[in-house]
Symmetry: C2
């Protein structure tokens, strides 16, 4: 194996596949990156037990030759050392595999040698029938992930809740996440020959939002155990989480005792301020009180002090007196992912979940259960 | 106490005095900031056992009225809560002390209440005779601190080595720091009616570099136990470290067996690359080898690999064969603080300290002892 490569592209690709590689991996080979030189490209692979990322570097990118393969071959080398050394090298580099167990990296007068492991020892890719495909616009998918993934459970008690549920219909994808106390849902239009419901680990989806470029078409491929996210030169394999995903949609009632609209950004800032005094307890308990045309946001800490502010309500319908105690951080998470100027909030008394929806956008909905304060 | 204040200036001043306030301070009152409203200014004080910062906010800054004091008074409130809430408030604020034990902060429709402690309980300022003054240009002082402070000892075994030694003569200030393995020295011109040698904790000097504005005159005031750094609206009190500071200057020999000059930036980058392979051991051992007109920088890790590069030597005098093993991180620390294009390196064999000096600047010198590799 021997190739000459543009350092910038090489460094970027190594960093991308390194995302999922842990230097503490139990299997030493998984602390490495698999590097394969094919006649017309380089393929880099990094993985952990749940996620595998494969990045191809072609010979030509944007009309510029970035790679020249002199001879083919493959090897696994330490991800962290490869990444750091390539970053610190000043120019295009020549990489040569010697004796099948180390690589030499030459850049100007700098010669680096990195020990390697034979590529044959690297875990095999899962065999996947790639007929079940969904074509999707990357921006839309990334947006739907961001609007739901924060709501997953951090506890391993119910593993299925640590993932985001992706439910495919012929023309629609519904993404859902919940930790039993809050629930986020986002819908988007797709063209699919797949139907079914799959739960994907949140870490894999977080990677999808970081790795895939905006403004391009990508494919989702589904098998029994894996979901693949695929663009021209990049594939992310994610293991699926098995188990029945609970149906939370029944909680989204259209009727409500009180319905208000408020300014999204102002509400976010108000809750953020109130959280300051709420943060010493386990839950960031913030009180929302509606009294006719005003929304009062308040929180209190016996030791430190208290905060209270009033905000204008845009539209108000139904009962004009509401008092509900919420985990302020849940409200902040939901509001942060709303681009719309106004948010509608539906209340059904102080013991029932509050429903937040951006005004003028029915594709996104958030449900937050009240905190029991007694 | 009641005053109205521009939120930006107030927030900035609170953040500055908060630097030295720890939320984990043993004395609860030291987790707070003392706030005093005088007829024509506000004075904020924050401190820990070694450092005290006092910041004055006058009524008018840059021709703009930023403060209006309605009534005088004083209180101590939690630094962290005060800082965070003021940051998050949108506009100018009105602050009122009530019942001598809490303050009310009003900003638009946002009302915050913070509990406080009586200002009388806050530790008194040390009484200092302010006649022993040194006038100094802030840029020069900050520069001299940055060029030495990194070299202090992290170990409390010899407390005096955890500080930077400031030695005042009538027309010169010499700053020195060492951890017994490396030594940094920087000289600057001053006008002083003080002579003597004082050791200041590195943390206090780090604060000086952050707090004091560039491009202004400031004063240093020295007493038996304290050093004060003072500009118009800001005073930092630092406790001094007692004990005899060792004289390292004898180690700076002018004679040398080999003397070379190399490009500062290239050397820094080369050592940085070599450190990558050296970092698994306790010392970042990097080898420098001179062989006639070339400098070889190398390091090796049995497990991972090795790196080797050659750099051009500008001027070479003396013995043409040198081999010395240094802690690469010490070399990096010294080179980072050199603005000059070229650095001169003096060698006295493989067992004696290496001396680094920027070419064309005799005010700064660094000494690094070799690592014993056997």
């Amino acid at each position: 194996m021997e190739f000459t490569i543009n350092n910038n592209y090489f460094s970027k690709a190594i960093t991308e596949v390194s995302h999922v590689v842990s230097s503490k991996a139990t299997l030493p080979i998984l602390t490495g990156i698999k590097m394969e030189a094919k006649p017309d490209c380089i393929i880099l692979t990094g993985s952990n037990s749940d996620i595998l990322i494969q990045r191809t570097i072609p010979q030509i990118i944007d009309g510029v030759q970035v790679l020249e393969v002199h001879s083919i071959g493959s090897i696994v080398v330490s991800a962290i050392y490869l990444r750091e050394i390539i970053k610190k090298l000043p120019r295009d580099i020549k990489l040569t595999l010697s004796d099948n167990h180390y690589i030499t990296i030459q850049s100007e007068d700098i010669m680096t040698r990195l020990n390697g492991i034979r590529a044959e020892e690297y875990p095999h890719l899962p065999m996947i029938n790639q007929t079940n495909r969904i074509r999707i616009y990357s921006d839309k998918l990334i947006d739907a992930i961001k609007k739901t993934v924060f709501a997953v459970s951090r506890s391993e008690t119910k593993p299925v809740l640590t993932g985001v549920n992706l439910s495919f219909k012929q023309d629609e994808l519904i993404c859902m996440a919940t930790n039993s106390h809050r629930f986020a849902l986002c819908k988007l239009g797709i063209e699919s020959n797949v139907t079914g419901s799959f739960t994907v680990p949140s870490a894999a989806l977080q990677e999808v939002t970081k790795l895939f470029h905006a403004n391009s078409m990508m494919n989702i491929i589904v098998s029994e155990d894996y979901m693949l996210f695929k663009s021209d030169n990049l594939t992310l394999y994610s293991r699926l989480i098995k188990g029945h995903y609970p149906d939370m949609t029944a909680l989204i009632t259209q009727s409500s005792k009180t319905n208000i609209t408020v300014d999204t950004k102002q509400l976010l800032q108000g809750i953020d301020r109130a959280c300051l005094f709420a943060s010493e307890r386990k839950n960031n308990t913030v009180q929302l009180t509606i009294n006719h045309s005003q929304l009062k946001i308040s929180s209190k800490s016996t030791e430190v002090g208290k905060i209270e502010e009033t905000q204008k309500i845009g539209q108000l319908s139904g009962e004009q007196q509401v008092n509900v105690t919420l985990d302020g951080s849940y409200v902040i998470d939901a509001l942060k992912e709303m681009k719309e100027d106004e948010v509608s909030i539906r209340f059904n008394g102080s013991m029932r979940p509050v429903i937040l929806e951006p005004v003028g956008n029915t594709s996104q909905i958030h449900l937050i259960s009240p905190v029991r304060t007694h």
